[in-house]
């Protein structure tokens, strides 16, 4: 059904369709916002959902595609958040710079935040050469805690009191732009020789090594890219909330992203999007339950894992997030079914 559509679609439409869709989505949302059908509350939940999508997708690169086990992802986020906030509030005082310069400063901040996180990501990648599985997980957990403990002690950036007065630059446009851009870049990456190297390491590290894949290099690269994205996401988070403090980026937050990732379906970008968005919205939807809210949230989470243990979107991708192979076969790269021939 869908494939025939895709075949008959005009190639230009096929290429720019998703982009067009995004623009239409953005315009519709903004119109609804203007009409006040979508109020500030929904807008804000959407902003957080966007940040969470970035975080989950980047965690997916490490855990889902490269098969490493990182449980301290919020640590990278905090580095990015602080890095970006320092640029926009301390290096360039946001209220004293002309309006035209604000956006470049904001983007510079995000870039710096991302780079700081990526550098540390590379450092964390190094133990991953030696440590496997749970042992690596513990190192990432410890890393997250160390970052948190150190941020509390640096007084110029507020210490335990946190940083206040971060300008509110990250609006829906920027969040959406970064989500779309990141998903596009990640998709491209995964369907390239780099992505194949990551998946090879995940599926069988020894064989990957024997096939000439420098596992060390690719593992560090995976950590680095994921940390960069997490850093940018942290920067956006800081500029949505306009206040950050070290304890927001603790283990609980890292665990949240793990939940989003695996409930959505690891190894699938679509899963990351769906998991992050739905699970960001769910606790808000359950507000009418008052004190019993998180009890029901927990039950729903357990039920999802029991009944769809591969995640909501396990192992599948929507058409925009996968790339079809030349023209010979119209099949998903990591799909489960082939015309007529089903899974054995």
């Amino acid at each position: 059904m869908k494939t025939t559509n895709a075949k008959t679609m005009h190639p230009l439409l096929r290429k720019f369709g998703p982009l067009l869709g995004c623009i239409v989505f953005y315009v519709v949302i903004m119109l609804l916002r203007k009409a006040d059908i979508i109020n500030g509350y929904y807008m804000q939940v959407m902003l957080f959902a966007g940040v969470n999508v970035l975080m989950t997708a980047s965690l997916n690169l490490v855990n889902g595609f490269t098969g490493q086990f990182c449980i301290g992802h919020a640590g990278f986020m905090s580095l990015g958040a602080y890095g970006a906030a320092v640029i926009t509030t301390m290096v360039f005082k946001s209220n004293s710079i002309p309006e035209a310069a604000q956006i470049p400063v904001f983007l510079l901040g995000l870039l710096c935040g991302g780079i700081v996180a990526a550098i540390v990501g590379a450092l964390i990648g190094i133990p991953s050469l030696k440590l496997k599985g749970d042992y690596l997980a513990i190192v990432t957990l410890a890393f997250g805690e160390i970052v948190r403990a150190l941020l509390r002690l640096i007084q110029p950036i507020g210490g335990a009191r946190g940083m206040i007065g971060i300008p509110n630059y990250a609006n829906f446009f920027w969040i959406m732009l970064f989500v779309v851009l990141t998903l596009w870049l990640l998709r491209n990456l995964i369907y390239s020789s780099y992505g194949r190297a990551f998946i090879a390491i995940r599926d069988n590290e020894i064989a990957a090594d024997a096939m000439g894949i420098n596992t060390t290099k690719y593992k560090i690269m995976s950590f680095c890219i994921a940390a960069f994205i997490a850093g940018v996401a942290g920067g956006l988070y800081a500029h949505v909330l306009s206040f950050i403090q070290p304890d927001s980026f603790g283990f609980v937050k890292s665990a949240d992203y793990l939940v989003y990732l695996y409930a959505g379906g690891s190894g699938s970008l679509t899963g990351s999007v769906v998991g992050a968005v739905l699970l960001t919205i769910l606790p808000e939807v359950l507000r009418f339950l008052a004190t019993w809210r998180l009890v029901l949230y927990a039950i729903i989470l357990i039920a999802v894992m029991l009944y769809r243990s591969e995640g909501l979107i396990g192992g599948k991708e929507v058409p925009f997030l996968r790339i079809k192979r030349s023209s010979l076969y119209e099949q998903p790269l990591f799909g489960r079914k082939k015309n007529g021939l089903s899974e054995e």
Binding site: N63, P127, K130, L131, K132, D134, Y135, A137, I138, V139, L141, A142, F143, E145, I146, A149, L150, L153, I206, F251, A255, L258, V259, Y262, A263, S266, T291, W292, L294, V295, Y297, A298, I299, L301, I302, M305, L306, S309, E310
Partner: protein, 303 residues
């Protein structure tokens, strides 16, 4: 010298809590192969349960302390109850996922943990308030080379060691231990050998839950405050201990717990500002030197 000895006592005290909890953690990991992030919450249930059972026994309490028999009953009931809850959790939430990737069970365990803390928190008669833990034993204080050590501390440290030995023997020598080892190596093959896997895993969870309850009682005896979130971070620390010792290894779990406890205390003693971070740095360094934990062997995958 006396101060260092005193710090060592504190380190052993904290370490024995980690160790007792890590023993159950590592056992469940070794036999079922899952990271049960809800393990720390079993500790909370054990301690909170003890509090409420002790309330029921309150008429027997003289001067705020209970006669030995009552103490035995309280501990027994709390331990069995927690073990039972652990078995129930396994049957409902973990069993259906036994053959799924282990990350799936991990996420389910996060959900279970969330449920176990939030459910009592939402119950009106429990709620989020911290409560004073009843004095089950009146501690005697001894003076050893200038450092003071209480009977409770000695009991805890000894208990951790004895439990470790008992578990080690249980797994190595008894029939159920042999079955556990068989299940841990190959569930399908064990099943073909006529081993009732469900039963073995239930027993494992029972032991794990009961041990968590015991460590909860120990923890609350030296830090006498119980509340619903008390187990969350302890659970993580016991996971860290278990991994540090070589996850799945019973002796390693105890060693890991004590090392972590002592490392944290001494790091804090040297500089309390950085103590928290330094504790974790020590952990990373140990793992880089011993990539499979202290007792764990690096398994070379057969090619």
């Amino acid at each position: 010298m006396a101060t260092i000895l005193q710090y060592l006592v504190y380190g052993l005290q904290l370490g024995s809590v980690y160790a007792l909890l890590a023993l159950g953690y590592t056992m469940v990991y070794g036999i079922v192969g899952m990271i049960n992030t809800a393990h720390g919450d079993f500790l909370m249930i054990g301690a909170l349960g003890t509090y409420f059972i002790a309330k029921l026994f309150d008429s027997m309490s003289i001067d705020g302390t209970y006669p030995m028999l009552a103490v035995g009953c309280i501990i027994l009931i709390a331990t069995v109850m927690t073990g039972g809850i652990a078995v129930g959790v396994e049957a409902i939430a973990y069993r259906p996922l036994r053959n799924k990737p282990r990350m799936i069970a991990l996420i389910t365990a996060v959900g279970v943990s969330m449920f176990l803390t939030n459910f009592p928190r939402a119950l009106p008669f429990i709620g989020p308030n911290p409560r004073p833990f009843p004095t089950l034993f009146t501690p005697k204080t001894f003076n050893v080379l200038g450092a003071s050590i209480t009977s409770t501390q000695i009991i805890m440290i000894v208990l951790a060691a004895v439990t470790m030995l008992a578990l080690d023997r249980l797994v190595a020598k008894t029939k159920i231990g042999a079955q556990m080892r068989a299940v841990s190596m190959d569930k399908d093959a064990a099943s073909l050998m006529g081993i009732n896997i469900d039963k073995v895993i239930s027993i494992t969870f029972f032991i794990g839950g009961a041990l968590a309850a015991v460590s909860g009682i120990c923890y609350a005896s030296v830090y006498p405050q119980v509340e619903v979130y008390m187990g969350s971070w302890l659970g993580n620390m016991s996971f860290v201990s278990a991994v540090l010792g070589g996850i799945g290894d019973i002796r390693g779990a105890m060693l890991g717990g004590f090392i972590l406890g002592i490392a944290q205390i001494f790091a804090t003693a040297i500089n309390s500002t950085f103590g928290y971070a330094v504790g974790f740095i020590i952990l990373i360094v140990i793992l880089l030197v011993k990539p499979a934990g202290i007792m764990g062997k690096v398994t070379i995958e057969k090619v």
